[in-house]
Amino acid sequence: MNEPVTTLQGTAALAAMFEGAKAHDRAAFLPYFPIGYPTYDDSLAAIEAMAAEGVDGFEIGIPFSDPLADGPTIQAATQVALENGITVRRCLEAVRTLRARGVRQPMLLMGYLNPILAYGVEAYVRDAHAAGADGLIVPDLPPEEAAQVKSACEKVGLALVFLLAPTSTEARIKLVTAQATGFVYLVSVMGTTGARDHLPETLPGFVARVRAQTDKPLVLGFGIGRPEQARQAGELVDGFIVGSALVREGAHGAEAVRALAASLRRALD
């Protein structure tokens, strides 16, 4: 069977992703995985294995020396990646390689601002687009500071995702939902990334506050790592991201990552 090769990229590809998931009456599942952990080849193998399990999209982690929104698991993994000599250029090459190997799901580059500035904002967005990426998530870039990145993304149609947190005020929810393209990233917990035992009880209230102000897709991240949490998240929002739990499996190889991704994916059916 020849599936039609999708030519959609950027915000259009993300919109199609959410529609596809919705058509099956489920939320989209976007795994996070950093390039270069535990090695460059292993990270690509892990992402390819998850792609084959039918996950909906990816957050591709770009290592940074000072990842202040990340908890110990991702800090340690991205530190290993840096010790492996991973650069921004290498991460873009990884996206290109994954596309060449047939990974079709949308990919968002998740990385901190300073390496983007060092690369050059315009060049980064252009090269990310050329490599086949669909959007950017920059955890230390609030919309107030994002004018240059945003206009570069708009030029090529890349999504620029902004985040909301349980502390966000109504005014900030209005600002962030207006500015975000692709989707709005809801940080489920107070704190850094890292798998948690339970999703917070205040989560439905937080989601409702955001939902009241926007029709854009909402994606939940931080703290999700188990099938029952995936199910729970799937009932509240349009998509969810799992990072630390998958990265932890990464130490045991691509097969272990695939197995967890498969169980999270199955929890949605």
């Binding site: 940074f64 230390d140 947190a165 502390t167």
Partner: protein
């Protein structure tokens, strides 16, 4: 008329000093920074708050600190006359208490009973622990394990003062990593926690808050020079880690065009070695970037990864610098130079012998610049050095560097 095209007011409403500053933090913290900005502005406008701050500065910190004429040192060097602003005589032994006390009062006013702080040399940690003890706040201090090893007396001091010292093992295990951990703590506990940031850096409004509480240094020193010496200094010199003691001194002199403002960064093992913390002096490694929530000069590699820094003084060992310094440098209102570890250690010993003052290794960088500069200046010229702290905390390091027989 001013020669410098200096806007009347920096920062602007968004916390920018020219193209530097701003707010680059995770969304979780954005509302807290808005709240902090509002609380700070209302506190400044509240005579009771400022009155309490000034009362404690006088009765608890021991302000005003004097200026001391360094008679022997000036004579030996044979050029400009050197005066020292004695922040080493402030309670806890450094200028850091000016800011820690102000922010702790702000925490109390905002109803936040838990304060967190980062520390490099330990002076800001000690100052925070002290202010927290005074006001009955619960204090947690993040400190890199490398700094814990080289600043042991201050670690013990913080514990005596009732603070919890949390060792940081990530990255270079120094100030940069302590700030990362403090920010992570704040993200997790922002609702009941006040982040007591120790230098003129971080996201807006911190550089402004720190400048405001440290500006007492320059306000006093300027008046003391006029009252006691009869004229303003020709040159003001301060060491620059994050930049709080320097901005505290410089701010009162910003409109005195005839007064040169000189910041001294840590030259470490020398600029060519790459082993330093000289953000402005090394064009290969120091470029504008974003670290810890602010846009400023940052030591980084070609890929934008933050460089590990080196200085014999823990308090200057940091990859970025307060955004207002980057701005003052662009405006050519202030100039920045470096002193190496070796020059700082030599200046440390010189000040001990010639003036009977044991300076902090951080402050010794400023003294080193005065020692270089004074002989090139006429005898009626005046140099004012900010002696930001005392050196008792550094004795282990100095013994290690120069041996017990000094």
């Amino acid at each position: 008329m001013s020669d410098h095209s200096m806007p009347a007011q920096v920062p602007d409403a968004r916390g920018y000093y020219g193209e530097y500053g701003g707010r680059f933090v995770p969304e979780t913290l954005m509302p807290a920074l808005d709240e902090l900005t509002e609380s700070f502005q209302s506190a400044l406008a509240d005579p009771d708050f400022m009155g309490r701050y000034e009362h404690l500065q006088a009765t608890y910190v021991g302000r005003p600190t004097p200026i001391t004429y360094a008679a022997q040192l000036s004579k030996t060097l044979g050029g400009a006359q050197i005066y020292l602003k004695r922040e080493d005589l402030a309670h806890t032994g450094a200028h850091k208490i000016n800011n820690a006390l102000g922010q702790a009062l702000l925490a109390e006013r905002m109803g936040k009973r838990r304060v967190i702080a980062e520390t490099g040399a330990g002076q800001h940690g000690v100052a925070s622990a002290t202010a927290a003890a005074l006001l009955g706040l619960d204090c947690h201090v993040y400190m890199g394990s490398v700094d814990i090893a080289r600043q042991r007396p201050n670690v013990f001091r913080m514990k005596l003062l009732g603070a919890e010292v949390i060792p940081v093992e990530s990255g270079s295990k120094t100030l940069k990593d302590a700030i990362n951990e403090a920010i992570r703590d704040w993200v997790a506990n922002v609702e009941d926690t006040f982040y007591l940031l120790g230098s003129a850096l971080g996201p807006h409004p911190y550089p402004l808050i720190v400048r405001t509480f440290q500006s007492v240094i320059g306000i006093e020193a300027r008046q003391q020079m006029l009252d006691e010496v009869g004229q303003l200094p020709d040159v003001c010199i301060a060491c620059v880690g994050g930049g709080s003691n320097a901005i505290g001194l410089f701010h009162a002199f910003r409109d005195d065009d005839a007064v040169d403002l000189i910041g001294v960064e840590a030259g470490g093992l020398g600029i060519p070695s790459g082993e330093h913390a000289a953000r402005f002096a090394d064009p290969n490694l120091g470029r504008p970037g974003v670290l810890h929530g602010t846009r400023s000069f940052v030591l980084q590699d070609a890929d934008g990864q933050i460089r590990e820094t080196h200085s014999v003084s823990a308090g200057l060992d940091y990859a970025s610098v307060g955004p207002e310094h980057a701005y003052l440098r662009d405006m050519e209102r202030a100039f920045y130079t470096t002193a190496t570890d070796e020059e700082a250690l030599a200046a440390f010993q010189t000040l001990c012998r010639q003036e009977g003052i044991i300076p902090a290794l951080e402050s010794s960088h400023a003294v080193a610049e005065a020692i270089k500069r004074a002989p090139t200046m006429p005898k009626d010229a005046i140099i004012l050095v900010n002696l930001s702290g005392r050196g008792d905390k550094d004795l282990d390091t100095v013994i290690h560097e120069i041996g017990e027989d000094a």
